[in-house]
């Protein structure tokens, strides 16, 4: 295993631990998704994104738009791992007057670019940012993290059309395909497959990887970072609760309730090599 991959896997493990620490403060939440998407965020923040941890507003930064605002717990963990947030601040998660509200709000948190949560917004805003950065001659890239459930929203596809039409090769969409949404499995709520074919038909460069395989993620992001004329999408198949076996099999996983005694068990599970 390369040093690069080993380092990012360690980073992902810490992101999971931070998410569990925050989850314990509230006793429940989008824990399963945070664990599932931790490897993706570790690679994005630890390997792909250009930013300055101590200057989150740096004009030359790559933008990372959390379209799925309810995944804020995952992004806070990644921002702490990246040094944008102080790890100690994570204790305030979701508490009154905290800079870390349960759903992502741009006005509160350093490194949070948009207030997502009303789904289907991230890719549209990314479209404008990418147009604006290109117009200004900036080489910065725009990443946005969507979920597969979010693909139900027609506005996502409006933006997909616009990105391709305008040849926005500075846009990278990352879709967390965990096959689960609020009312149940995605396949039963509203079928969105075949995803690679759909994005390609919309004029995108599309790759699909195991979103919990850091080596595969690194290779895929590297491939999509190569210069091109099309926007790029990385479809990441992730497992809800990844890293904590008794979470991975939990039936009520979308907004996961966790017993008090389970938090420490979960943290210990993270220490066991997969």
């Amino acid at each position: 295993m390369s040093e690069r991959v080993r380092r990012l896997e360690e980073s992902a493990r810490r992101i999971r631990k931070y998410a569990l620490d925050m989850g314990e403060v509230q006793g429940q939440g989008y824990i399963g998704q945070a664990l599932g998407v931790a490897d993706v965020l570790a690679v994005v923040y630890g390997d792909q994104l250009r930013f300055r941890a101590h200057d989150p507003e740096w004009e030359g930064r790559d933008r990372f738009l959390l379209s799925i605002g309810h995944y804020a717990i995952a992004l806070y963990a990644a921002l702490a791992e990246a040094g944008v947030l102080d790890v100690a601040e994570l204790e305030t998660y979701g508490c009154d007057n905290s800079r870390l509200p349960m759903s992502g709000m741009a006005s509160c948190t350093p490194g949070m670019e948009i207030s997502g949560g009303s789904l289907g917004h991230g890719l549209g805003v990314a479209t404008g940012m990418a147009l604006g950065l290109r117009y200004r001659g900036s080489g910065a890239r725009v990443f946005t993290l969507l979920s597969d459930g979010e693909l139900d929203e027609g506005s996502t596809w409006e933006a997909a059309l616009a990105c391709a039409h305008h040849g926005l090769s500075n846009v990278t969409a990352v879709v967390d395909v965990n096959a689960l949404q609020a009312d149940g499995p995605t396949a039963g709520v509203l079928r969105t497959e075949p995803l690679v074919d759909k994005w390609k038909a919309f004029g995108w460069r599309a790759l699909r990887v195991d979103g919990n395989d850091v080596a595969a993620l690194v290779a895929a992001f590297d491939e999509l970072a190569e210069p091109g004329e099309k926007p790029a999408v990385l479809l990441c198949d992730t497992r809800v609760g990844r890293g904590v076996p008794f979470f991975e099999t939990r039936p009520k996983a979308h907004f996961m309730p966790v017993e008090e005694h389970e938090w420490q068990l979960a943290r210990e599970a993270l220490e066991v090599p997969a």
Binding site: I114, H121, L123, G124, G128, R136, S155, A159
Partner: protein, 328 residues
């Protein structure tokens, strides 16, 4: 043999409310935006497949590299406008009012208004300015948008208002919504000692008997009605309120202090627009006043020719004049 009379038709897509022989300016919004863009390189334009019908084509043709066509997709147009503003540009995004408000509300609200970005949304065909029926008549756009925090709302009267509003909107840091009068737009306010000032009402003429508080194109109707009523020795004051939000409550409270008949005039539903802005302004100040609202009824309107519809729904000068006489 009877003389054939001219049949009034809908002509919906190019409908004009200018009176025959009235002085007009062509595409004042597009022209003003081009003038502004010559001074400010950060001004950009977006359209959702309606550039030609919102006078945005004037900007598109002058600054093609700064114009972004988003297709018939208002949600991504407003989302993209937010993204452009996030990276330091000043977007003007135009479409029909119905689509900006009814269809893309969540995007205007969360992407633009919540972060208070300098995005300027320009909505054509506000109120009853097309005979095309409810799909295109934004009779409730002010009602929809007045509840949105951070948003500035402007309802200009004529080409003078529009030309002066465009640079003012760009100079305002937060988001704005301007109701657009497009095509050949009447030029009226240059005959008055008037300058558009964001957030301010302007007393265009004094009058002892009646106070008309008007916005948008109804200000020109108010001025015409005032001239006619003058012949009957009815002295009418006209207070033009081109900014609906923030509303110039100080001017309204000052002008309504006497016992003149108060008439509000708006090209909008009687629900949630100017009439209710004035009513709440008075009530919140502890003032009880009767208000005569000249406004569109709380119903989906008919399709047809604009002059017919303005007469039917009470917005024509004839209808306004008759209403005031009846109420005095």
């Amino acid at each position: 043999m009877s003389t054939p009379t001219k049949r009034l038709t809908t002509s919906a897509m190019i409908a004009s409310f200018a009176d025959e022989g009235q002085r007009t300016a062509k595409a004042p919004f597009g022209q003003a935006l081009v003038r502004l863009a010559r001074e400010r390189t950060d001004v950009v334009g977006l359209s959702a497949d309606l550039a030609k019908y919102t006078d945005m084509h004037v900007f598109r043709d002058a600054f093609p590299e700064r114009f972004f066509q988003m297709g018939m997709a208002e949600q991504v147009m407003l989302g993209a406008a937010a993204g452009l503003a996030e990276v330091g540009l000043v977007p003007f995004a135009s479409t029909y009012s119905v689509f900006a408000t009814r269809r893309a509300y969540d995007f205007l609200c969360l992407d633009i208004a919540e972060p208070s970005l300098n995005v300027n949304v320009v909505g054509a065909l506000p109120g009853l300015t097309t005979g095309y029926g409810p799909s295109h008549q934004a009779t409730e756009d002010l009602a929809i948008l007045r509840g949105m925090p951070n948003l500035t709302i402007v309802d200009p009267c004529d080409s003078v208002d529009i030309e002066q509003a465009v640079p003012a909107l760009a100079a305002t840091p937060g988001p704005t919504y301007m109701r657009l009068l497009r095509g050949n737009v009447p030029t009226v306010l240059d005959e008055y000692d008037y300058t558009f000032e964001l957030g301010k009402a302007a007393l265009l003429r004094p009058g002892r008997d009646v106070l008309m508080i008007s916005t948008g194109l109804m200000t020109m109707r108010a001025l015409q009605a005032a001239q006619r009523l003058e012949r009957d020795h009815i002295d009418v004051a006209v207070l033009h309120t081109p900014t609906i939000k923030p509303f110039d409550t100080a001017a309204v409270l000052r002008e309504t202090a006497g016992d003149r008949l108060v008439v509000t005039l708006e090209n909008h539903s009687v629900v949630g627009g100017l009439a209710e802005s004035v009513a709440s302004c008075l009530a919140f100040a502890g003032r009880g006043r009767r208000i005569v609202p000249v406004a569109l009824p709380d119903e989906f309107l008919a399709a047809g020719a604009l002059p017919t519809l303005h007469d039917r729904y009470g917005l024509s000068v004839d209808a306004v004049t008759a209403r005031v006489r009846a109420e005095l």
